[in-house]
């Protein structure tokens, strides 16, 4: 096991021998400008309170001022936290390690071996950009599915961030403020905004926005509720009318805020392959107020995945991500393209993978009818259970009416059966050149193309029900991406050849090969 090679958390003083050996390198502080930024933030957080009291004559009591007091409190807390972090954090880059000490009450020492560092990325929000600061994230290979960055520095100057990246990933020097050089695979098309704003999150965003607007306005003595209640007055419009008017209105606010976040998040989005001293990286740059640059080492690339939830699938839309080791699947670092048309996504994936035999163009094998029967059976069982439960509680208790069971059956039954059909139609698998292609998913269809040599384990699975239906599933495990990818419900014969010939050689010692049998 390579425990000492990965990032290690230790309390102070456990490895003084190594520290002495490398003591010649100085320990560095985070950038001083962090303090200036903090003081500005500290003052800015008090402004709402001051304005409320001084300009709007809000009585200075806690009952009337609590929303702005919360804002001020959060401002103070984060500023103090940032200043403490600045005071207590030291870092250094030695020949072998990147090291960081931090922490006020619990002193933490963390080191990452330099040859384990796979990516050095930087991020900055607006106030950091104004001050020329960057947050630097170091990603190491071991973390693949742990969902944690190996190490981060919050924050250093832009120059230091660039120097660290050059030093640790061998990325070449770049003139500031220019477009990324190298092969540009995709740029954002701003008309894609329409694909990225119409979803249920619009309502969540709207509710958040409206609630804070109402609360803040109330603090400043402005009554937004009164006018709103007059416009959507149920006594005038009737309840149906009020809801019919309010739902689109709230939706429009949400769609608007999602549009704003799309433009600020994906501003000048570019995906490119850049040649560096240490090889090539796949780079995305994006952001208007908060800029973000992610570099993904091509040596760690193991495949790509298209994700298509049900509604987008019908609109021909997909989200595109890479399957790679060392990037957490829980962050959006693997995402290489905003939600957009499938045709564009496929072209981009083809160029990213750079294969002669394009994995995504491979014809996927249809799965046997048994797979459909299994899904229909599960859908029926699910519906049956819910209907039986409803009927039982209708008969035994007053929780639901006596007619509830057949209404449930009429509504739930067809939906469940249609979803079963959709899930069946999503199934597919292929061995295409150097890649395995696996597609499945009921609500969200995922198509994964995984390098065959990246497979680090195989599991063939068969439930007793699958056995009756002549089906078997194959799971291939890998260090990259989600850790495992599945080809579900193939005919047993297909499952065997997929498991035997897909991931090269893993099952070979446990196979019996014989001449064709006749039965």
């Amino acid at each position: 096991m390579t425990a000492e090679a990965g990032p290690a958390d230790r309390t102070e003083g456990q490895d003084s021998a190594r520290e002495k050996a490398q003591a010649q390198r100085p320990w560095l502080r985070l950038d001083k400008r962090l303090i200036a930024v903090d003081l500005v933030q500290l003052v800015a957080a008090q402004l709402p309170t001051l304005v409320a009291v001084a300009v709007f004559d809000v009585p200075p009591t806690l009952e009337s001022l609590w929303p702005v007091v919360i804002i001020a409190g959060i401002g103070v807390a984060t500023s103090v936290n940032n200043i403490v972090r600045w005071i207590k954090t030291r870092y250094r880059v030695t020949e072998e390690y990147v090291e960081r000490r931090t922490g006020l009450f619990v002193r933490r020492y963390r080191s990452v071996r330099r040859d384990r560092i796979r990516s050095v990325d930087s991020q900055a929000n607006l106030r950091m950009r104004v001050a020329g600061l960057r947050v630097v994230y170091f990603g190491a290979g071991q973390q693949n599915t742990a969902g944690e960055q190996a190490l981060s520095l919050n924050a250093v100057s832009k120059k230091t961030a660039q120097r660290l990246r050059r030093e640790l990933t061998g990325a070449g020097e770049e003139p500031a403020g220019t477009e990324p050089d190298g092969d540009v695979f995709a740029r954002v098309r701003y008309r894609w905004v329409v694909y990225n704003i119409f979803n249920v999150w619009a309502y969540a965003a709207a509710v958040g926005l409206l609630v804070s607007a109402f609360v803040l306005a109330t603090t400043f003595g402005i009554d937004l509720w009164g006018p709103a209640a007059r416009v959507f007055d149920p006594d005038v419009l009737g309840w149906g009318g009020a809801v019919a008017l309010a739902l689109p209105a709230v939706g429009a606010v949400g769609v608007g805020s999602l549009a704003v976040s799309f433009f600020t998040g994906y501003w000048k989005f570019t995906l490119s392959r850049v040649t560096t001293d240490g090889g090539t990286v796949l780079r995305t740059r994006q952001g208007l107020l908060r800029t973000r640059e992610v570099n993904r080492d091509d040596a760690r690339l193991r495949g790509a995945k298209l994700t298509e939830p049900l509604l987008w699938r019908w609109m021909g839309l997909t989200e595109t991500s890479v399957i790679t080791t060392g990037l957490s699947v829980w962050s959006d670092a693997p995402v290489i393209l905003p939600r957009g048309p499938r045709s564009v996504a496929r072209q981009v994936v083809d160029r990213v993978l750079g294969e002669e035999e394009r994995p995504l163009d491979a014809g996927l094998a249809r799965h046997p009818a048994g797979a459909l029967r299994r899904r229909l059976l599960w859908a029926s069982l699910f519906t049956g259970t819910v209907v039986a439960g409803t009927a039982w509680s209708g008969a035994m208790t007053d929780a639901v009416g006596p007619d509830a069971w057949w209404i449930t059956a009429v509504v739930l039954g067809p939906v469940a059966l249609l979803l079963a059909l959709a899930a069946y139609r999503a199934l597919g698998h292929a061995v295409a050149g150097a890649y395995l292609v696996m597609r499945s998913g009921m609500m969200s269809r995922g198509t994964a193309a995984l390098r065959r040599h990246a497979v680090s384990g195989v599991a063939v699975r068969q439930s007793l029900l699958q056995r009756r239906m002549g089906l078997a599933s194959v799971t291939v495990t890998t260090a990259a991406g989600e850790g495992a990818y599945e080809a579900l419900d193939m005919a047993v014969d297909d499952a065997l050849s997929f498991a035997a010939d897909g991931p090269p050689g893993i099952l070979e010692p446990f196979l019996v090969r014989e001449g064709p049998r006749n039965r």
Partner: protein, 184 residues
């Protein structure tokens, strides 16, 4: 450990990866059975697993009088399922669970409702651990856990004699050390 190689009986012609209908390849069962006392181990674990919902429902039935009216049937179903799980599944597991390690790979068959044939090549192994829960300690059993770089790729072989598991872990660690590979 019994070194028998009897294949699973083909049940009513339903195809399994070990007895496919027309394919020219098939999986063979792993060479070794697990210890017979693993049956007791699985039964204990199933009993504890079943006791939690049954106990909760039983206490609710005894204490909350209003609940008795509707809690009866679920309680009966839960207890019956628990008894069935405890009495039957350990025997099925004993018939299914088999394992094997070679110079190239670790191979195991497991499960009772969902059967699983799992293999991991030595060149990808990252850690080899042995694990002993309270019941396993009581029976002198260990679980061999072989992990690869994948977070979801561990091969777990339960119900091994502690001495066998330790010896196997040592052997695998030694082979892994000798075998080149980038482990990812």
């Amino acid at each position: 450990m019994t070194e028998s190689r009897t294949p699973v009986p083909r049940s009513r012609g339903a195809p399994s990866p070990e007895s496919p209908r027309t394919a020219t390849i098939r999986l063979r069962p792993p060479a070794n059975r697990v210890e017979r006392r693993a049956i007791a181990w699985w039964a204990m674990r199933a009993a504890v697993f079943a006791l939690i919902p049954c106990g909760a429902a039983g206490i609710a039935y005894a204490v909350v009088e209003q609940a008795r009216e509707w809690l009866g049937p679920p309680l009966v179903v839960a207890v019956a399922t628990g008894i069935l799980l405890t009495a039957v599944t350990p025997w099925i597991r004993y018939a299914v669970h088999r394992w094997e390690t070679t110079e190239e790979a670790v191979y195991a068959r497991s499960g009772w409702w969902v059967r699983e044939w799992r293999a991991a090549p030595i060149s990808r192994i990252q850690t080899v651990d042995t694990l002993r829960g309270p019941f396993a300690q009581l029976l002198g059993l260990s679980t061999l856990v072989v992990t690869t770089a994948s977070a979801r790729g561990a091969v777990r072989i339960g119900g091994l004699d502690t001495a066998v598991a330790d010896e196997e872990a040592e052997r695998l660690t030694e082979i892994t050390r000798r075998t080149p590979g980038d482990r990812t």
